[in-house]
């Protein structure tokens, strides 16, 4: 009894409020996305719970139970059982390859009655716990190669298994842990290289190879020229030339990989990113329809349930991956701004909470939550407005789907639970 009072007093209600706003707004938009003006189904109508919005309501209900469970469980449980939880989900990822069901070409689902669960979604949370556990052991130092390697292994195993079940989108999310690692002392070189690689990758899509070679040569020359005289040693110059050469090699490699390794549909998804009008009918169709839906929303939107693009199924996957289109069309720029604002508020609040943690475990975990949410935000909204390739990952708390809602809620509320007990978690190091 006493503990419950404590929880409600110590829980960060700002985060909870943002969370509730997201989930409610998400549900309203799912309702709109599947809304059929000829047969509007209301909550009390027959068949309502067969629709996505009906099922989502059930998911929301069960999520509330999950949250209560998380808050009731002792906060030391997560710390203590971090690795077993990680191990459990690795097992589940293996199991799903054997006994899982295939949905839309991805062999990553457990089917329970008419509901489906995707262990990959939960493995993000498990990996986050494992990383927090590993990094909170005394004397780990991310500038040390041994720790870097161990961390890399912890992060790499789940996405490899997930890739095996053909769920590329979720696997990519694990790259987001670079943010967490950077915060925890990984040399800045790594994220810098990562960003450079991504940038070069995109540049190599937009420009011809030879143009990039020339660009690299010019930039290297400029760097050498701008160097202070005393730094201009042969060694440094050679290093710069080496970097430039590697970059050139990378670009060549990317071109080769795109043309020889990637499958047709993957290649098209990347091409659509740099050339939105390419292949309007097939791959480009989704992106184009998404942009039309959002773009036609205007400043204030067409009004709830009034979006023609939404109602009449022009945007595919609209209650899941493209849920942001509904927001954009029916609530306009005001709605988009609100949703982006909610996410920015949530992430900045979580960073603030993470930094006030006294235990490293909780802080690392908090940054993990921020990393994951940020990646989803970046890619999901980015793809609907044509700034990111179409990668099928959901918008946290908004998109339809039990696995997604459950896993994000668990992810978030474990952190809130840890935060609520931060004073008792005087670090063990």
């Amino acid at each position: 009894m006493k503990r419950e009072e404590q929880i409600s007093r110590n829980l960060d209600w700002v985060t909870v409020l943002i969370y509730i706003l997201c989930v409610v707004a998400g549900w309203l938009n799912i309702y709109a996305a599947i809304y059929n003006p000829e047969h509007p189904i209301w909550i009390f109508d027959d068949g309502f719970f067969d629709t996505n919005s009906g099922k989502q309501l059930i998911w929301i209900g069960t999520t509330v139970l999950l949250i209560i469970a998380i808050l009731v469980i002792d906060h030391r449980f997560y710390d203590t059982f971090a690795f077993p939880i990680y191990g459990f989900f690795l097992f589940m990822l293996l199991a799903v390859l054997v006994v899982g069901t295939e949905v839309k070409g991805s062999h990553s689902w457990f089917r329970i009655g008419s509901f489906q669960l995707q262990p990959a979604e939960f493995s993000k949370m498990a990996t986050c716990l494992a990383l927090a556990k590993y990094l909170s052991t005394p004397l780990t130092n991310l500038s040390r190669f041994k720790d870097q390697l161990n961390v890399a292994i912890i992060i790499a195993i789940p996405p490899i298994l997930i890739l095996a079940s053909n769920e590329t989108g979720v696997a990519l999310v694990f790259a987001s842990f670079l943010i967490l690692l950077y915060r925890e002392g990984l040399p800045g070189m790594y994220p810098a290289i990562f960003l450079a690689v991504v940038t070069l990758f995109i540049l190599s899509l937009i420009f011809e190879e030879w143009q990039i070679y020339i660009g690299l040569a010019v930039v290297s020359a400029l760097v050498v020229w701008a160097m202070p005289r005393y730094e201009r040693k042969t060694k440094n110059i050679l290093a710069i030339l080496g970097v430039a050469f590697c970059m050139g090699l990378f670009v060549t490699g990317v071109d080769w990989a795109i043309n020889n390794v990637l499958k047709e549909h993957q290649r098209n998804r990347i091409r659509v990113l740099v050339d939105p009008d390419f292949d309007r009918k097939k791959t480009g169709y989704n992106v184009r329809q998404a942009k039309i839906a959002i773009g036609s929303g205007g400043l204030l939107g067409k009004g709830y349930l009034q979006g023609t693009q939404t109602k009449f199924d022009f945007v595919p996957e609209q209650s899941t991956d493209f849920i942001f289109c509904t927001v954009g069309e029916e609530f306009g720029f005001a709605g988009s701004l609100t949703v982006v604002g909610l996410f920015i508020g949530l992430m900045l609040r979580l960073i603030y909470l993470a930094d006030r943690q006294k235990s490293r475990f909780a802080r690392v975990y908090g940054y993990g939550v921020v990393s994951i949410i940020f990646f989803h935000f970046l890619v999901n909204i980015g793809m609907t407005i044509g700034l990111m390739p179409v990668i099928g990952i959901p918008l946290p708390f908004f998109s339809y789907g039990g696995s997604s809602l459950w896993s994000f809620s668990i992810l978030l509320f474990i952190f809130l639970k840890l935060d609520a007990h931060r004073s008792q978690m005087l670090s063990r190091w």
């Binding site: 915060r183 009449f312 900045l348 940054y367 921020v370």
Partner: protein, 679 residues
């Protein structure tokens, strides 16, 4: 360092957020193209074709209406034809037609219905209806087909057809944005002249569709929808019974009949022979039928009454007599002999009054009348005298509508030609280089005068009214009688005092009762007042002309009958005019034997031999010209060529004693007119 890294991460997140917000602002607020795209996606405009106005005759008989027909649509995705051969037999199409039609439909859209076959009649529809259960994915949609009750009025009514690209462009240049490709418009005749009234206003319905093209109800509750407005009905002045009767008399003949009610200017009948079946130009048979008509050497597509070219011949003497009387250069009792006149005459000597001059159609008489008209002025110099006299004559003849547009409510009315001072100055290369002796053939309706049958019917109406006319018109009301342009109500003076008409009419009575008109053209109980005219023709028989009105007092009908290559007007045209007058005034014709004889009489052999005689040297040119030119182009060119030939023909060196050649009506182009008229 932790603090810096934290700030770095925060900064990165905020940077991405700002980038996204900027992008969203651009997409949603600045770039308007997506709103349009969204509309194109989800909103479809459905055009509702309005009901085209009907046309009634003067007795409220329906003559043009819309027949419901059935268009067959195919929805390729649902369409399933097991026995293609049977299907093709059912709809009377070939296998390859079937294949290409289904292919086209599939290209257009697999889920939306597209037009498969156009305009199946009610009978065809009934025949195939039962079989349709075997063919899912095919559906019928009702539309309408313009139907013409009477074949005899084809050219005056015109027809309806899909708008041509040229016409579309022309309308748009005029600022008319109404028409879209595929619209049906009136192409000729009344259908064209009253297009704006007849067509109505198309309706527009906006519906929402989903991504599969399935309709999902009205857009914004039909806020932008517009109901179609039916076209207005026309009440024609034509008496369809008279029209059909005149048409049947004109079988096997090429020419025109125009009948006008003198007191109102309303056209009672307007026959252009040969005619065609306008219904065949509205339906599926259009292109085939049009091609046939267009290549027909008799040119059935030309509406002869307002558009053909003839010289008035002796009928013009009526105008000369009236001008002479009005100017006072002759009196009713003025007589002239044949002496010293370079013209032949069969009248047997002297005509001692205007009445006899007209009755006998005496050429020397009107040579002298015209000489007085031209020379009776104060100028001393003969050349100056001629110029002044001709100008005065031209002004007065213009008032009869000669060389002017009468303003009938039909497209393509031709002005004809009335020679002026400027004209002769041009022909003789300078002013004061010509005098009466160069131009006298005009005095008997030859030479440079060009008219059309409508004008001559109007001249008959002017005489019937003793001095005025109302612009001839075919429509006496839009939706209700009297609702027409005021220009069709106004009385226009011909500039001749009323008192001068009686002697002329007396002459016309004489012509009918004891003069140039065949005896069978007389009516025992109704006095017809008429005047014959005959145009000689280089390539064949003369064109026969007769204009008349009846009865003498309080005339009810004025008529002009032109028959190409028929011969003498009094013999060949007058009986037909007489039968028409009887039909109209009595409601029926008692002279059955005469009626049958005239219906069966054929002049086509004459016409065709004349055509081939004139066409032979230029066969190739003719073929290429006709293939790719519209009727209007053709006529315009034809008129220009005719006028050019007239110019050529009237060069001063022409021989005097021969009457100038008649221009062949309408056809042919490139015809050479032999030089004539010498001094």
């Amino acid at each position: 360092m932790d603090e810096i890294r934290k700030r770095f991460i925060q900064g990165f997140i905020i940077l991405i957020a700002i980038l996204y917000i900027g992008r969203l602002f651009y997409l949603q607020v600045i770039d308007e193209t997506y709103k349009l795209d969204a509309q194109n996606n989800a909103i479809r405009k459905i055009v509702q074709v309005p009901f085209r106005g009907l046309i009634y005759d003067r007795n409220k008989k329906l003559i043009v209406y819309n027949t419901p027909v059935y268009d067959l649509y195919i929805t390729p995705k649902k369409a399933h034809v097991q026995d293609t051969l049977k299907f093709c037999r059912l709809f009377d199409i070939t296998r390859s037609e079937f294949d290409s039609l289904t292919h086209l439909a599939r290209i257009y859209s697999p889920v939306r219905p597209s037009l498969f076959l156009r305009q199946l009649s009610k009978e065809e529809y009934a025949r195939v209806q039962d079989a349709m259960v075997d063919y899912p994915g095919f559906s019928f949609q009702i539309s309408s087909l313009r139907t013409y009750q009477s074949k005899g009025m084809a050219n005056a009514l015109g027809y309806v057809g899909e708008i041509s690209p040229e016409r579309l462009l022309k309308e748009q240049e005029k600022g008319n944005e109404y028409y879209r490709q595929g619209d049906y418009v009136g192409v000729t005749g009344l259908e064209r002249f009253y297009e704006d009234e007849l067509r109505g206003q198309r309706g527009e319905k906006y519906v929402m569709v989903n991504s599969r093209g399935v309709e999902k109800g009205p857009f914004k509750n039909g806020e932008f929808d517009r109901e179609p407005v039916a076209g207005k009905n026309l009440i024609s002045s034509v008496d369809i019974a008279l029209q059909d009767y005149a048409d049947s008399l004109m079988q096997h003949k090429v020419g025109s009949v125009v009948a006008i009610e003198p007191s109102s200017g309303e056209i009672l009948a307007m026959v252009s022979a040969p005619t065609y079946d306008p219904s065949k130009l509205s339906g599926r048979t259009f292109s085939k039928y049009f091609q046939t008509l267009n290549l027909d050497p008799l040119h059935p597509l030309i509406n002869r009454p307002p558009s053909a070219y003839y010289r008035p011949g002796s009928t013009f003497k009526l105008i000369q007599a009236l001008i002479g009387l009005q100017l006072g250069v002759i009196s009713p009792s003025t007589g002239f002999g044949h002496a010293g006149v370079p013209m032949k005459c069969h009248c047997g000597g002297t005509s001692s009054s205007i009445q006899l001059g007209i009755k006998n159609s005496c050429n020397p008489y009107f040579y002298n009348v015209f000489k007085r008209i031209i020379y009776n002025n104060k100028e001393q110099n003969l050349f100056k005298k001629s110029a002044v006299g001709l100008q005065r004559w031209n002004d007065m003849a213009s008032k009869f509508g000669i060389g002017q547009e009468l303003g009938i409510d039909l497209p393509n009315e031709t002005k004809g030609k009335l020679p002026s001072v400027e004209y002769y100055d041009k022909v003789y290369k300078g002013p004061l280089r010509w005098k009466f002796s160069n131009i006298y053939s005009v005095g008997i309706g030859e030479g440079e005068i060009v008219i059309n049958p409508l004008k001559m019917a109007n001249v008959a109406a002017i005489i019937a009214n003793r001095g005025w006319y109302v612009r001839p018109h075919l429509v006496k009301g839009i939706n209700e009688i009297g609702n027409i342009d005021n220009k069709y109500k106004e009385h226009i003076s011909a500039g001749i005092d009323r008192r001068h008409f009686e002697p002329v009419i007396e002459g016309m009575v004489g012509a009918v009762n004891a003069g140039t008109v065949a005896a069978e053209a007389r009516l025992s109980d109704i006095q017809i007042c008429g005047k014959t005219g005959t145009s000689q023709n280089k390539h064949g028989q003369d064109h026969a002309i007769f204009i008349a009105f009846a009865p003498r007092e309080n005339p009810k009908i004025a008529i002009a009958v032109f028959i190409e290559n028929a011969g003498f007007g009094g013999t060949h045209s007058a009986p037909i005019a007489s039968l028409c007058i009887e039909k109209y005034l009595k409601g029926k014709v008692e002279r059955k034997a005469m009626e049958t004889r005239w219906m069966n009489k054929s002049y086509l052999a004459n016409v065709l031999s004349a055509k081939s005689a004139s066409a032979r040297p230029n066969k190739e040119v003719k073929a290429t010209v006709e293939k790719d030119s519209t009727i209007e182009d053709y006529q315009l060119r034809n008129l220009k060529e005719e006028l050019f030939k007239l110019d050529q023909a009237n060069k001063p060196k022409a021989p005097v004693f021969k009457i100038p050649m008649q221009p062949q009506a309408v056809l042919p182009k490139n015809q050479k007119i032999a030089p004539k008229k010498t001094h």
